[in-house]
Amino acid sequence: MLKRINAFCRVALLAVLGFSAIAQAVVLRDDRQVEVTITQPPQRIVSLLPSLTETVCALGQCQKLVGVDRYSNWPESLAKLPRMGGGIDPNIESVVAVKPDLVLMATSARGAERFAALGLTVLALEPRSHADVQRVMRIVAQALDVPVQESDRVWRHIDAAVNAAAQSIPSQAKGQRVYFEVSRAPYGASESSFIGETLQRLGARNILPASLGPFPKINPEFVVRAQPDIIMVGDSNFADMATRPGWQNMQAMRTQRVCHFKSEESDVLVRAGPRMAEAARLMAKCLTEKAEAHKAKGAP
């Protein structure tokens, strides 16, 4: 009974005290369709998804991060932060130990319910497209009490840089047909994926139509039949590409029009976050160089 009275008093006190705070409280709907209430601007943030970590930093709030997942590696200032597992195996204990007032994580990650049960505020977001990058940036800005104008300014900056990358490509390098391999299974990036959207804005054509879904698992034969002009792939997958049956005779393989990206470059390319302009520049460089190499070879 005493406990109940105690609890009631606490609630009443909170209600009275809370009125002023509630006026400023932000209610956000995250990608799980859960309404998240943030009463005060968070000062201690844990991010468990690299693109969200990068979004926080792009908004100039990097110093508020107190922990990140093991895959977050940009910007370099994060190197000294404690690592708290990954998306599928977040280390619950070490997250709670740093007393965060906001946990950012992917909707596909595990442990969101557990964090919520332990009294942490969880915002689950999953950027998957160009539009998502802007939307997620706005939500994170609202959560961190950064003015929306600021997030829009950062977004315009990124958007303009993507356009600039597109304009840097000479017209004869446009319209090339590209196959972007995401993983060795092989999974490719189609027109409807984040990577596909960037390629489209760079004026390249994708051999994988949007109807296949964003990252379809394809038959290797499909690529041979489609004869892409350029292949883009991470270093780790490039190694055995020529040994796949029939691939060494592909036009792009024979003329070495394959861009293989280093692993840190691959990170930039596949993350739907604020570094998408850098990704666009990497792809633009690839498209331009390979088109010129082709011309130089074909000219004599």
Binding site: I88, N91, E93, S94, A97, T107
Partner: protein
Amino acid sequence: MTYQGARCSARVVALGLLMLCALGIALGSAVGSTGIESWFSALHDDTAWQIVWDIRLPRSVGACAAGALLGLAGALAQGLFRNPLADPYLLGSASGASLGVAVALALFGGNPFAAEFLVRLGLTGAAFVGAVLAVLLTLVLARGVQHTLRLLLAGVIVGVVFGAVASLITLMRPDVLQGMQGFLLGSTSFIGWNACVLMLGVLLVCLVLAFALSRVLDALSLGESTALSLGLPLVPMRVALVCVLALATGTAVAQTGLVAFVGLAAPHLVRSVVKTQHNWIVLLSALMGGVLLLAADLLARLLLSPQEMPVGVLTAVLGGGYLLWLMYRSQTSRAAP
């Protein structure tokens, strides 16, 4: 499989295992990303208290309970099928649970209504539903429990088909791949008090039922026809045992994912130290399973601290290693008596 030198009394072993459980849970509250200092500062520091009381303790108790459920299910499966290779996942519950998780994960990205519904049900709910459906399908395909061989085959078929469908979903939706992998590896790190209470409750029910029904396992160990001639109501008792098996496995799998080998190894380890009737074997297997998973969970937290290893990997190494050693020892002692 028979072992030599099994002379301990069942009560002594039970007591020993219980003490090991208690010791493990105590240790479990002191080991983690920060170490034992959380334990001392827990009284005046809220976060340290939360870490010890809300994270480490439920996790350790939960690991013990999940291991006990698997050990119990393993003992029941090996008794029911009179096969030392039987394990709790035999009736297709593992693949059923993975299919449930795959479907849930695939729908998470889909329409908002499904997502909202599934958030409420949770991955654990989906896994449990999947596991129960798979066992039911196995029972339907085997047309009851009368024929052990048919039941075994139906279980294998359901397991393979459900597993294939789960793989197909993962292949079609690669964003599901990560979540699936986490589930397949098995993990004790997401267990809270609610899950603990649920598992302990189910464990209690299953233990009482299994203990009461264990006579049929003793009878079955003498052969099917002998069991029939003893006048036991074989069919209803078997159905009840299969239900207990499915309930125990489904509950454990839903909370911890696929933890390998505990269910297979625990009954063998018990039989290597005691020779007794099935009621004791069932009870001791549950305790042994609890100790096994608890030990694996402790090591998983300790070995790479402050990082963690997937506990399923460790159970296979621990249980498998010990079983191998037992087999080797019993072989050599038989060769040179």
